[in-house]
């Protein structure tokens, strides 16, 4: 009788719903972890490598970037963003109103708050149709080329995993952080809609 009384307690303890973990899944191998390509704005996660604007200029032709973006990142097909932006000098001192082939503002690289974003975008998304084929050195070189075109860095600067995140981007503080989301909280304090 006494032993029967503890059965419900034992059942409760064995209940999966109360278990914190289930022991499902495998410990990823080093090779599987290396498939992660997400990089931090601090530069953490960037693969080792380096590149210059001169190397990037060559790749821009070799990888046929020119076909869409035009020679030297401007004047390409309408469908592709113009990569040379208003640097923010003179009367049009506003990176948000960059020259952009008539499109709405908001294109890389001039509008990126962090240099890592440009590197990440090229690494993930370019060239169209051959995504994921660029080697780290090539991505550093293409990033350096675009930054040099936009006069964000000097033409002779060697970009690498240690100095990429240090680059000061022209947008400065002219952008806002995402909201401080909390479940169930209103979208904007005092806003009834």
């Amino acid at each position: 009788m006494g032993s029967l009384r503890i059965v419900p307690i034992l059942l409760l303890l064995a209940s999966p719903a109360l278990a914190q973990t289930y022991g499902i899944g495998k410990v990823p191998t080093a090779a599987q972890l290396a498939q992660g390509i997400t990089i931090s704005p601090t530069g953490a996660g960037l693969p080792r490598g380096h590149g210059t604007a001169a190397e990037g200029a060559k790749l821009f032709v070799e990888k046929n970037c020119v076909a869409c973006h035009g020679p030297a990142g401007a004047g390409g097909v309408t469908a592709a963003p113009n990569l040379v932006g208003n640097k923010g000098t003179g009367p049009d001192d506003d990176v948000w109103k960059r020259v952009n082939g008539g499109e709405a503002p908001g294109s890389l690289p001039i509008l990126a708050p962090d240099a890592t974003i440009v590197w990440d975008f090229i690494n993930r998304g370019m060239p169209l149709g051959n995504e994921g084929t660029l080697k780290p050195d090539e991505v550093y070189a293409l990033t350096a080329y675009l930054f040099a075109l936009d006069k964000i860095i000097p033409e002779d600067k060697v970009l690498d995993q240690d100095n990429l995140a240090q680059i000061k981007m022209p947008i400065g503080t002219e952008w806002v952080r995402v909201p401080d989301w909390k479940p169930g909280a209103p979208r904007m304090t005092g806003y009834p809609y």
């Binding site: 289930y22 997400t38 908001g106 962090d114 998304g125 952008w175 995402v178 909201p179 909390k182 979208r187």
Partner: protein, 434 residues
């Protein structure tokens, strides 16, 4: 003489004849049945005459998966009614960004998986993923990084929940001809999967993790950054949709469902989740960079919203009389509490009937019986959610933000403003913003 009916239809005709004969006999006299029935003229049965139409052939496809009636023509449309400026760059590369669901024909609260809207970040490329080869890696700020097969995911406790997914492009304007154009990048479905919170607990999420990056397996490895607190609330790592595996356009074999957030955050073809300690602007986030606090605050997530789907643009009321005005209501912050319908351009409001129990961050069907008098009317709906937020008119929203409502004004952030439909005296329905 008995002759064997050669088909089911003849059998039905034969039995109908017998019933007709019995009925005819009964009308003559109560004793008629006991006598030899006199030859009666064959009864005319209009319903069976109509059924002389061909039967639907039972093909292997009909057996295996079923097909809808060929009388039902409702289909999705790509980039319908969108300004050329926003689609030119995709069309130039042969791509499609948005495929809109035919809300004007929608019934109930879910979209059939075949009609659910879809949008992809880079266009129409949909990866063809072998689920036996696909894995989901969870790492970053966790004590126990893990890699899960699709079979592993199904061993975890599952949830099945109804949620809407809506693209930020779902912004009605005066040029839209119908509700498919104005509201068609929003759909509701039942999603089945494991809660992301369950996976994070399995992996020992660290306290310092405040954001996570979700990445897809498509060619651009599209990634978004989202807050951990929302992940622990209700985000689903979904493998099922409306009773079957996800469709490829919906992220087969596994995707994220982030209830209440814009469509793009519901990462499809999910392959990697990384817990991190700071927001990072990723491939799919860059288009969301904002300059003003207001636009940022009203972006990313959806407020309370509703739309009348019948009668709606391009439809026509055939005659005056009673109709059920009906539509859909939802909120990215909670459940629908109330829906009101106006038939006089917003001067007076009538509470609509909610069909079933409203669910959190899901579509609710509403209806309001209305006796159309044959006159000109402007009809509209507005909803209030259980957080107390109410759906605004464009004018109300503009005023609250210190802006001006002009025909070309695009409400900042996610557009949840009230949509009016105009009913003319001939019953035709057009865009009330025009």
């Amino acid at each position: 003489m008995d002759s064997k009916p050669s088909s089911r239809r003849e059998l039905l005709k034969g039995s109908a004849l017998a019933v007709g004969a019995v009925a005819a006999g009964a009308s003559v006299s109560k004793t008629a049945l006991a006598q030899t029935p006199a030859p009666a003229p064959a009864p005319v049965l209009p319903s069976y005459a109509v059924n002389e139409a061909p039967e639907i052939p039972v093909s292997p496809d009909v057996v295996a998966y079923g097909v809808r009636s060929h009388y039902v023509k409702s289909v999705r449309i790509q980039e319908d009614g969108r300004p050329p400026g926003t689609t030119a760059r995709y069309e130039a590369f042969g791509l499609t960004l948005h495929i809109q669901t035919p809300l004007q024909d929608s019934i109930g609260t879910i979209q059939a998986s075949s009609l659910h809207y879809c949008a992809t970040t880079k266009g129409s490329f949909v990866p063809d993923i072998d689920p036996a080869q696909h894995t989901l890696l969870v790492d970053g700020l966790v004590d126990r990084p893990r890699i899960f097969t699709m079979a592993d995911l199904r061993r975890f406790p599952s949830v099945s929940r109804f949620h809407f997914v809506e693209c930020i492009a779902n912004s009605a304007n005066a040029t839209h001809k119908n509700v498919q154009q104005s509201h068609g990048t929003c759909s509701n479905a039942e999603w089945t999967g494991v809660l992301l919170s369950t996976l994070f607990k399995e992996c020992g999420l660290q306290d310092k993790a405040t954001w996570y990056v979700a990445e897809g397996a498509e060619e651009v490895k599209g990634a978004s950054t989202l807050p951990i607190n929302e992940a622990m609330e209700d985000v689903i790592v979904a493998y099922g949709m409306n009773g079957e595996p996800l469709r490829p356009q919906q992220g087969f074999p596994v995707r994220l469902i982030t209830p209440g957030f814009e469509g793009i955050f519901n990462t499809k073809w999910l392959r990697h989740i990384k817990a991190v300690d700071q927001y990072q602007l990723n491939m799919n986030d860059f288009g969301h960079l904002r300059r003003e606090e207001t636009t940022a605050a009203l972006g990313y997530t959806w407020g309370p919203k509703s739309i009348i789907t019948f009668p709606s643009g391009s439809q026509k009321l055939p005659e005056h009389g009673w109709y059920e005005i009906n539509g859909l209501a939802w909120s990215g912050k909670g459940a629908v509490r109330k829906v009101e319908v106006s038939t006089d351009g917003g001067q007076t409001w009538n509470e609509a009937e909610l069909k079933g129990t409203p669910l959190r961050k899901a579509h609710t069907r509403f209806g309001y019986m209305w006796n159309w008098d044959g006159g000109e009317h402007v009809i509209m709906s507005r909803t209030t959610d259980d957080t107390g937020s109410i759906q605004p008119t464009r004018e109300q929203m503009a005023k609250a933000l210190g802006m001006t409502d002009t025909p070309n004004w695009r409400p900042p952030g996610t557009n949840n403003t009230i949509m009016p439909w105009k009913i003319a005296s001939d019953g035709s329905v057009t865009n009330g913003l025009a």
